[in-house]
Symmetry: C2
Subunit: 337 residues, 2 copies
């Protein structure tokens, strides 16, 4: 079942069949009809590879995230899918499971696929070697006209970016918590090798500093970027001795684990300790207590990055869209005991 078969069935040339189906050039109405009918009758399905090869252009975009099962990435992916659907683009998905090597091999695969644009979603790794390889891969990709946009990473990769204001958001959150009366804080941080974590911690810290408050190093616990990571980090924090009235988890997902750990330890939130997260993934408003957080418009992030990557712009000029986070005070934070 090829275009050739359709052309033969319609009694026209290959070229005419192609034109009739794609409607680029004018084709006599009756011929177009015949071709269309033949294609329909034969259930013709154009070979996307042949077409991509002949046009040397592609209707695909690539999206690489760390874990499509995580509500943060799932929310962003939802926005990406919406934008892609609007532009009739197919989406090739990569989920790295937080393995830097896998990220690079996805990028390379997508380059081979000649996707029109590539989206990297999520924090990068603070890893010199990885940064080198990725940059090289992306440069090669762009050298042949590929477009790259990133969400939430800036180190190491020079590309169009949608950047949540991690620093600013965390600082704003800190100020809100200070306003509630808190003066001693602890932080459940994700892996410090992730730029997002570093930024959020820095923002939080600097806002405290301007009030003359410093984070004790024992009150910063590093954990995996998962619910269980938050749970375990909290247990470790309690083991070290909690010396804070308020705990900031660098993502909501971790905060969920923290909430469980506090509950198990018999600590009430917010009566005994206040708890805040970051991202505003959908479910946290249904927790008990609902979680204070810095809200990021996840779907928007995805849509905007996709649109940005698709919008041709004079190259060598990197565009950056900064996205403000919105502090949302919910019942998980209150005045210090």
């Amino acid at each position: 079942m090829t275009l050739g078969d359709v052309a033969r069935a319609a009694g026209v040339s290959l070229a005419t069949a192609s034109r009739a189906l794609n409607g680029a050039t004018q084709v006599r109405a009756d011929l177009r009809q015949r071709v269309r009918a033949a294609a329909e009758r034969l259930a013709y399905s154009p070979n996307a590879h042949a077409r991509a090869l002949a046009k040397s252009s592609n209707a695909g975009v690539g999206v690489i995230c760390h874990d499509i099962g995580d509500p943060y990435f799932a929310g962003i992916a939802r926005g990406v899918m919406r934008a892609a659907s609007r532009h009739d683009l197919q989406v090739i998905l990569g989920s790295t499971f937080r393995d830097p090597l896998r990220e690079i091999s996805y990028a390379s695969m997508m380059r081979g696929q000649r996707v029109r644009a590539m989206l990297l979603v999520g924090s990068g790794f603070e890893n010199r070697e990885w940064q080198e390889s990725l940059r090289r891969e992306l440069d090669l990709y762009r050298a042949t006209g590929g477009r790259v946009a990133v969400i939430s990473r800036h180190r190491g990769v020079r590309a169009d970016a949608v950047l949540p204001e991690n620093r600013g958001g965390a600082a704003e959150l800190a100020r809100s918590l200070l306003a509630l009366g808190h003066r001693s804080f602890a932080v459940l941080s994700g892996p410090l090798s992730l730029t997002t974590v570093v930024d959020r911690l820095a923002g939080f810290r600097s806002a405290l500093a301007s009030w003359g408050i410093h984070l004790l190093s024992t009150q910063i616990v590093e954990g995996a970027f998962t619910r269980d990571g938050g749970y375990e980090a909290t247990q470790e924090l309690l083991r070290r001795g909690l010396r804070a009235t308020c705990v900031f988890a660098s993502t909501d997902v971790m905060a969920i684990g923290a909430l469980a750990a506090f509950r198990e330890a018999g600590l009430r939130v917010p009566d005994d300790v206040s708890l805040a997260g970051f991202d505003d993934i959908p479910m946290i408003r249904d927790l008990t207590p609902p979680l204070t957080t810095v809200a990021l418009p996840l779907e928007d992030l995805g849509e905007r990055a996709m649109e940005m990557a698709l919008l041709p712009e004079r190259p060598a000029r990197v565009r950056v869209e900064r996205v403000q986070g919105q502090v949302v005070l919910r019942a998980s934070t209150g005045p210090p005991p």
Copy 2:
């Protein structure tokens, strides 16, 4: 940057360059080295479309789900990604936003893409016309060697399938709730046009029936398959007058909304009313109270369907893997007040 360039740089023929890079046939070691080196130096990236065209085989699989932002699908997608990664397959993702037409256009697009296998994830629609179109699309796809597997749909589509035991799971859940002492029930159902909903409702109902208990029609409320759908359905149920000691929401996502609605209405769960869901999406164990549910191994579902689609089997023989749901009693259910 094509294979031709690499061949020239290495001083060999196109054919030899191809063989050296793909390692299918034997190539003299020194030639292979030269080709590899040249490819490396030139940062050669094989054109996936050209390759797919020449081999008329493809390293891609397609996955179509209803909403990648929903934790149920995100969980399954996670499993799919794991399996795909194991087989070095790229994944093309479709998210229908619950639009039947979009599902068909995705299927058609993936057929054009000549993907090796196609996964349809999630309940089908009870819609004659849609079923016709989809079946036609899939038949055409399979006629050319395409493989199809579905998760959780059986009506209308004849294909390899991983089927959660929706009926059995719901029935088992009902029996557990009966054992707790409940004798009056209400159901928050998703759209009755979804086979999953119909099956879960039927299973629940039949288990009750064998105890001589019948669901009042006023106590079955249909809502969207979302958190807000569950919230609104619950409000409607309360408006009609709750005449049950236990409420079954046909998915966890809906149950989350129900929990919020009950809380707002001043009803305590489970003291005033028990609540149970279905699926066991990750977050529900962290709700207050944690949600009773029928646990489905979401990631497994995805992995198994992918493996099944990849495993060539004598065609015309449809394979079905049934996956038992596990009733997990948590604190959202208790004895009737």
